[in-house]
Symmetry: C2
């Protein structure tokens, strides 16, 4: 079975299948984030009932806690967390490089202190691959340097060269090419020629898929859209394209329009835990007093368990009295919203009315 | 249909049916506590899947937040929280009287300040009934004075007289006798004659069910068992008997042996949120390092979702990294454990081997 198969195209957008040892994922797809081997508050059953086929987890976090030995002895990450679908593991590059005071980058790898206990760890790119081989994720990511924004051109140039070098070493270290797909990450900040150089060099290494990294680091939406515009055409047509860390509803439309296939973002679940939910008209903050006696669901017609059973007034009450069920229901709703949005986008590609549907969505959805 | 029907007896123990407008409850039954219109972290679906038929909620909490008007406009408590089964609402007596510095008792009722914002409220027994009429719970409780332990005989005597007087007034105020059963509460502290007096007077008032209140206030298990022993024989055979606030697994056996039918307790769900779970061998603390690499379920053979899917090592990891799913799974397990225990007790009544089964359970279950 082919790893990646395009089923339908409309201009630059596409519907495709990614075939993994843990099932087939249809793209465009939003992957819920399960950083610490759990999509926060959700059970695997909750996710399965929403027809979710792939989730994301994080090498960095799992390496530190519970530790790879434990997950390996449990029979791998899927078994450990009882998730039967596909898993993409992020390398942890983004997390490590966010901790500016706690890490040091050398050509050999990255030295850092754990965010919770200060213990020192050294991760060369080979070890990041080895960890992911042992986790048994279906899609693995190379260790990259994720530079801050803003950063000078010279810094970005050096950084992307290091990321390219590390990608080469990661590829050589990868043991399970038969069952785990290792993706390369394109960097280059907001410099068009550097993004192009990164993409061209990365593509030469022939990875089974490519990601755009280093976006959503504060550069703003216009620059983020520009990066896709520059890099998208250089990414192979016949391989999955993963836009890392992006997943606001409005961004999904822009990204798919630019040929992207895969997305992840903590935003939908993070705002949910704060009482904010997505509707077709935009975000609403359930804590607001206007919902005190609103006996309608978060969104009329939404098929999620929260909307089929509960009113805004009830969920607002739960948040008001600090009951966890509130966060559970909003998390469920926001994930469902993202998955349903992927369905709407897919249909618009199939029906060839992408622009119209995009316009309709964005006209209603207040950002 | 009779409100209460005994199906099977063994010595003082009995299996019975309580028929409510929201379904039939078979006793002996442990009622999960949903103080603020939610059994913490659980959805109604979770509870239904465990075959739970009745839960408890709290008049005092709901009166303060979200307020009775909102619940009434939502169509009643069942609709508000999307719970199709039966609901028993506690009067809030226990909660109000726990706040020693914030309340004042008068013959008219109780004056108190809300625990979270200091607003002042006056609740006469009539109002407590009216609130419960408006909530629409299936079983309502009279407002009682729940005296502290220890307390002097004179104090307890006055207190139980007040509770009797309030019960009379509550009964008169009750509007929906056709569809809501109002229970009287027997007080009297640890004084046998006062307990007997309270029981006799309360029974004269002919409530459809009776509760023993003012236990589990620090008097110790032996005194608590004595209270049941004194009062049980004075409680009508043909009406449900509810032992309030009791629900440790070992206590259930003693209470059923003394003819009790209904129980509630925050303990199973509270300890769950702290990472402690029940097994047939007693409590275990999942945070302990001994479970770090324990790849067996909380209890082998347990049919709950947590045990069918996850290991101790995984749930320990969740607690270790502060993931809410941990609390969700342990809560589910402990509720399931209590419900399954009720099933074991029921079978032992049916099979006439109650003592043997009780002994077997207590021999294994380390307290």
């Amino acid at each position: 079975m082919e790893f990646f198969k395009i089923l339908h195209k409309y201009k630059k957008s596409r519907i495709a299948e990614i075939n993994t040892p843990h099932g087939t994922v249809t793209t465009p797809i939003f992957m819920p984030v399960g950083t610490q081997a759990t999509v926060k508050i959700m059970t695997p059953q909750d996710l399965e009932e929403m027809n979710i086929k792939i989730i994301l987890s994080n090498t960095y976090h799992l390496y530190l806690r519970p530790g790879i030995d434990i997950i390996e002895r449990a029979g791998g990450l899927h078994k450990f967390m009882a998730w039967k679908g596909a898993i993409l593991t992020d390398s942890g590059g983004f997390q490590i490089f966010s901790m500016e005071d706690l890490r040091k980058i050398t050509p050999e790898g990255v030295l850092f202190r754990a965010h919770f206990d200060g213990t020192e760890h050294f991760l060369p790119p080979e070890k990041v691959v080895d960890i992911q081989n042992r986790l048994g994720s279906d899609i693995m990511m190379c260790l990259d340097e994720c530079p801050p924004y803003p950063a000078e051109r010279g810094y970005i140039d050096n950084s992307l060269n290091l990321t390219l070098e590390w990608a080469k070493r990661a590829k050589l270290a990868h043991k399970n090419t038969d069952r785990q797909a290792l993706f390369g990450i394109i960097q280059g900040g907001v410099y068009r020629d550097l993004r192009e150089k990164s993409a061209e060099e990365m593509v030469k290494m022939d990875f089974p898929g490519y990601a755009i990294g280093g976006v959503s680091v504060g550069e703003g939406k216009d620059l983020m859209y520009s990066v896709m515009d520059w890099v998208g055409p250089l990414m192979p047509e016949n391989k999955p394209r993963y836009l890392m860390g992006i997943g606001a509803p409005e961004d999904l439309w822009h990204a798919v329009e630019n040929g992207m296939d895969m997305f992840d973002c903590v935003l939908p679940t993070r705002i949910a835990r704060n009482g904010t939910v997505y509707t077709s008209r935009g975000r609403i903050i359930l804590r607001n007093s206007e919902y005190k006696e609103d006996f309608t669901p978060i969104e009329v017609g939404c098929g999620c368990y929260a909307c089929k059973n509960f009113t805004k007034a009830y969920i607002r009450h739960l948040f008001n009295v600090h009951e966890i069920l509130g966060m559970r229901l909003t998390t469920l709703h926001n994930i469902y919203f993202m998955i349903r949005l992927c369905g709407v986008i897919k249909n618009s590609i199939e029906n060839g009315n992408f622009e119209k549907e995009k316009e309709k969505f964005l006209a209603n959805f207040e950002i």
